[in-house]
Amino acid sequence: MLKISNVETFYGKIQALRGVDIDVNDGEIVSLIGSNGAGKSTLLMTISGVNKARNGNITFNGDRIENKAPHKIVDLGICQVPEGRRIFSRLTVEENLRLGAYTNEQGKNYETDIKEVYDLFPVLSNRKTQRGGTLSGGEQQMLAIGRALMSKPKVLLLDEPSLGIAPKLVNQIFTSIKNINKEKNVTIFLVEQNAKKALELADRAYVLVNGKVTIMGSGQDLLKNKDIQAAYLEGGTKN
C-alpha cells in the first residue's frame, strides 16, 4: 500500500535518511523504532511531503507521492499525527476536530465522523467547548489522533504518541490505536521510542539507526531479538 524505496532526505548538507526501504501493507500496524536522532520523524515528514526526499521514491497504491505537496498527500488518504501533538491550543476541542475535516470535502459527513471520534475518545465529548491548550497531555494526544481521523485517512502516521504522557494513558492510547486499526480498518504506521509498546502492538516492525533500517521482522520476533533487547528494551544483554 505504502512503499518507501531508498529514500534519502537532507537538512541542508546533513543527511538524515540514508536510503530507507519500508513497506506498509493494507490493514497492518507497522512500527518503526529507533533512538533520538535516528531519523524517525524525518521519515514521517518526508512521507507527508513536509520534507522533500532528495533521492528515492515513495508510492501510495502505486502512485508516486514524493514530490506532491502536503495537502495533496492528505487528500490521497495519508494523514499524520505530528510529534508533540501540535494541538491548536487557542481553538476549542470541536474546532480542532473540525479542522481535521478540512480536506474531507469540507466535512460532508461531519456529524457522523465527529460522533465516531467522540465514541472512540469519550473524554473529548465532555470537553467540546474547552480550549485545546487546557487539556492534559493524554487528552491532547487523543484530540490529535481524533483530529487526524476526521480527514478519513487510509493510512495514519503516528509520531511518538506516548511522548510526555502518563503511563496509564499511554496504555489507553495504544488500545485506541489498535481499535482504529481493527474496527475502522485504518492502516497504521507508528513511530515510537517506547520500543516495548510499539513492538507489542505491531504486526511488523523496523529498526532505524542513523537514517538506515538495520533490522526488520514481525513485532514478536523483534521483541525476542537480543540486540534489540539490549539497545531498546530493558533486561537484555549484549552478546
Binding site: S48, G49, V50, A69, P70, H71, I73, V74, D75, C79, Q80, V81, P82, R86, I87, F88, S89, R90, L91, T92, E94, E95, R98, L99, G100, Y102, T103, Q106, G107, K128, T129, R147, A148, S151
Partner: protein, 422 residues
C-alpha cells in the same frame, strides 16, 4: 507585604531611575539654544530630575501593586469585571454600540468637530478590522498595512479623476486593486514568519509610499492629487448650487443647504463600510478558510499535516485584509478630496497594528474599544500639540501593564455546543 519585597521594589525603582537618567539626561537635560552668534547648550536639570523622579515613583507603584496583587485587587477586579460585562453580554454590547453609532449624528451635543472625530475613529475601526484578519486571525504580523490603504486611496483618486466614474464603481475597483497588491506582497513573504515577515511588510509599506512620491507622471508626486470627486447621495450631489437642470441633495429633499449633510452622509458611509467589514469577518471565521487562518496562527506544521494549504490560506488572508484596507482608502480619498503620500507614513501602520494588538488580537469588539481609546485620547489632548503623542504612548503602556494580552483577550469559539445553536 514583606519588608524585603518593599526593599526589592525600591531597588528596582532606583535602577529604573538610573535608566531614566541616562535617557533623559542628554535628551532633555542638554538643550541647544541659539543665542546671538551660535548654538549654546543650556542645561535644564530641574526638568530631568522631575522626569526621573516620576519614573522612579511610577515604577515603585507598579511594583507594589503587582507584589500586593492578592490584597490589592483594584486593577484586576476592575478589568475582570469589565471583561465579564463584555463577555456575558457581548451581543447586547454590540447592539447598543451600533444603535449609539446610528443615532450619534442627531444627538444634541454632536457638532462638526465631534462628527469629524467620529469619522476618523470609524475609519480606524474599519482599518483595524481589516488588519485583524491578517494579524489577529491569520497571525501574520503586517507592519505595512498602510500600503493597502494608500493603494485604495490612490486607485480611487486616479480612477475618479481620470474617468469621472462614480464613487460606487470606483470603490470596488479600489478594493480589487488593493487585494491584488495584497497578493503581490503575499507571494514573496510566504515562507517568512514572525520578525522577518514584520520587517519585509514594513519595507513594503515604505516602497509603496516612495513610489507614490517619485512616480510623478501618475501620482503627481509629493504634491498629491487634488479635486477628488465627493461622493453623491445615489446620484444627488451635496452642492449648494447645483448645475442647471440638476438636483442636489438639499433641493431634492427640500432642506436648507448645510455642509453637515455631506458630513453626516460620510459618517453613515464609513459606518456601513466598517459594519460590512465586521460582518464579513464574523461570517468567514465560521467557514473552513477562516478556521484555517486561525489554525495557521496556532501551528503551521499541524496545518500542513491536516491538509491545509498554507500558501492559499495566507494569500487569501493578505488579499482580503488588503481589500478592506483599500475600501477604507477610497473612503479616505473621497472624504479628504485631496491625498498625498504624507498621509500614508509608517506611523499610520503602527497605529493600526497598535489598535489590533491592544484590542486583543482577533477580538472585533477589542478593535472598537482600542480605536476609541487611542484616537480619542490623542484628540482629547490635541491642545497639548506635539505632547499629545506622550498621552498616546502612555495609553499603550497602561494597557500593556494591566491587560498584557489586549483589552479583550478572550477568543470567541466559532462552534457552539450542540443544542444551543442560534
Amino acid at each position: 507585604m514583606e519588608k524585603q519585597d518593599i526593599i526589592k521594589s525600591f531597588k528596582d525603582s532606583l535602577f529604573t531611575g538610573l535608566i531614566a537618567l541616562a535617557l533623559f539626561g542628554p535628551i532633555v537635560g542638554l538643550r541647544t539654544a541659539s543665542k546671538g552668534e551660535g548654538l549654546f547648550i543650556t542645561p535644564q536639570w530641574g526638568v530631568v530630575f522631575l522626569l526621573v523622579g516620576l519614573c522612579i515613583l511610577g515604577r515603585f507603584l507598579i511594583n507594589i501593586n503587582s507584589a500586593r496583587r492578592t490584597e490589592f485587587k483594584i486593577f484586576s477586579t476592575l478589568s475582570s469585571k469589565f471583561s465579564s460585562i463584555t463577555e456575558g453580554k457581548a451581543k447586547h454590547f454590540a447592539i447598543t454600540g451600533i444603535l449609539f453609532a446610528v443615532v450619534f449624528p442627531f444627538l444634541p451635543f454632536t457638532d462638526r468637530y465631534f462628527m469629524d472625530v467620529a469619522i476618523m475613529i470609524l475609519t480606524y475601526i474599519m482599518l483595524g478590522w481589516g488588519l485583524n484578519i491578517v494579524v489577529g486571525l491569520a497571525g501574520l504580523l503586517d507592519l505595512g498595512y498602510v500600503a493597502f490603504y494608500a493603494v485604495g486611496a490612490y486607485s480611487y483618486a486616479l480612477i475618479a479623476t481620470t474617468f469621472g466614474w462614480s464613487f460606487w464603481i470606483c470603490l470596488p475597483l479600489a478594493g480589487l486593486f488593493a487585494a491584488f497588491f495584497g497578493i503581490l506582497l503575499g507571494f514573496p513573504v510566504l515562507r517568512l514568519r514572525g520578525d522577518y515577515l514584520a520587517i519585509v511588510t514594513l519595507g513594503f509599506g515604505e516602497i509603496i509610499r516612495i513610489i507614490l512620491i517619485n512616480w510623478y507622471e501618475v501620482t503627481n508626486g509629493p504634491d498629491g492629487i487634488t479635486g477628488i470627486p465627493r461622493p453623491s447621495f445615489f446620484g444627488l450631489p451635496f452642492k449648494r448650487s447645483p448645475d442647471e437642470g440638476e438636483m442636489s441633495f438639499h433641493t431634492f429633499f427640500g432642506l436648507e443647504y448645510s455642509t453637515m449633510h455631506r458630513i453626516i452622509f460620510l459618517y453613515y458611509l464609513i459606518l456601513v463600510l466598517a459594519l460590512i467589514t465586521n460582518y464579513f469577518t464574523l461570517k468567514i471565521r465560521k467557514l473552513p478558510v477562516g478556521r484555517a487562518w486561525e489554525a495557521l496562527r496556532e501551528d503551521e506544521i499541524a496545518c500542513k499535516s491536516l491538509g491545509v494549504n498554507p500558501t492559499n490560506t495566507k494569500l487569501t488572508a493578505f488579499a482580503i485584509g488588503a481589500m478592506f484596507g483599500g475600501f477604507a482608502g477610497s473612503f479616505f480619498a473621497t472624504r479628504q478630496a485631496f491625498i498625498s503620500p504624507e498621509s500614508f507614513t509608517f506611523i499610520e501602520s503602527a497605529i493600526i497594528v497598535a489598535i489590533v494588538v491592544l484590542g486583543g488580537m482577533g477580538s472585533q469588539t477589542g478593535v472598537v474599544l482600542a480605536s476609541i481609546f487611542l484616537i480619542g485620547i490623542t484628540e482629547i489632548f490635541r491642545d497639548l500639540e506635539q505632547y499629545r503623542m506622550i498621552a498616546f504612548g502612555g495609553a499603550m503602556v497602561l494597557i500593556m501593564v494591566f491587560k498584557p494580552k489586549g483589552i479583550l483577550a478572550n477568543r470567541k469559539p466559532t462552534i457552539l455546543m450542540h443544542g444551543d445553536k442560534k
